[in-house]
Point group: C2
Chain length 213, copies 2
């Protein structure tokens, strides 16, 4: 048609189609023609906006990360001005757990991308280090805040506990995704883990407990 269209809007429209196809038929089954059909445009147009398939795949990963961050931000903002540490961590968990369509889609695609990056050099595997690294830093600082707020016991190792928490979120997420765990048990388990951060933990059992409040 015309000469001037909004490239960014066009690209994100195609990326939306890409995500739907990938989530429905699997990341391995994505084809340029499939994306074109989903977006109701021609194959040529997909080529026009994403020169090559490798670039489309890479853009898809970036878009996935962006969407995920936005979802998390929205959820955290919904908690109000200065939410408690526990409520914040529960929000992290709730937004990551694959219960609704969007979170299922994210978990499936994110994990598929991660496995793909292990064998396919065309996907930058730094994404799967940098993203979790940032998340780790944020959660570790939350843990510190929890300690000074008195929510968590003082012996808590923020770095290690952040590693555990992130791994737990992902691990439980996978269990729920494949249908091995129910949403209810997932929340119960995570809540149980958070409970342990408040009481005494680690090191020498049978020691005195922390006086927090």
């Amino acid at each position: 048609m015309p000469r001037t269209v909004d490239h960014e809007e066009r690209r994100s429209m195609i990326l939306g189609a890409f995500m739907r196809v990938a989530a429905r038929e699997g990341l391995h089954a994505v084809s340029l023609r499939g994306v074109a059909a989903e977006a109701a445009i021609s194959l040529r147009s997909v080529q026009y906006y994403f020169e090559t398939k490798a670039r489309l795949m890479q853009s898809g990963l970036t878009a996935l990360e962006t969407i995920s961050n936005e979802r998390l931000s929205a959820r955290l903002h919904a908690l109000g001005p200065s939410p408690g540490v526990r409520a914040t961590l529960e929000a992290y968990f709730a937004v990551a757990l694959p219960t609704d369509h969007e979170s299922r889609q994210f978990h499936l695609l994110w994990t598929s991308y991660a496995m793909l990056a292990m064998t396919d050099p065309e996907i930058s595997d730094r994404t799967f280090v940098d993203g979790p690294d940032r998340q780790h830093a944020r959660i570790a600082s939350l843990m510190e805040k929890g300690k000074s707020d008195g929510d968590f016991h003082g012996e808590l190792d923020s770095e290690i506990e952040a590693t555990i928490l992130i791994s737990l979120i992902h691990g439980i997420g996978t269990a729920v995704l494949v249908g091995q765990q129910t949403e209810e048990r997932a929340f119960a388990s995570f809540g149980h883990y958070l409970d342990g951060l408040s009481g005494q933990a680690s090191g020498e059992p049978g020691r005195d407990q922390q006086r927090s409040e």
Copy 2:
């Protein structure tokens, strides 16, 4: 060549080639011709022993599960006649953590299969429920043993704690696989988690030490 060959031996030989190709180039990139080349036989022979690709894929998943169980059994046997609960759980973790080639291969393929099963109906997704279910039962019973042995505190919820532990193993495993966590931090984190099972945990913080009887 001849008329009589050992079918089972031939099949497992081909499955070995399948696993190598899948681990090296990704599960999505496996082709009958690729497997044939890796096994140094003709395409026709792969067809002969695994009628269709779908059946080869399914057999690959089954073989993966079998190998994994054998590796775990071997590791547990190496612990001696009546190992402690903590040592047993550490063995579970050590065998699952993707550090050497075999465990990396297993984690990569298992996760790839799980994601594939989400979109592809030709892979029975019950594998990813039944396997972890059995593992869960075994670990929950280990937790119970740990409680009666006095290794773990008495308030411990074996069912929930087993869920957490399994998810943790998988979650940390993924983090190590993608290179976001080092092997050392992984072991440290898991050890830290196990420490928490000995001391007080859960429920109402600030409570008394336990009056379990």
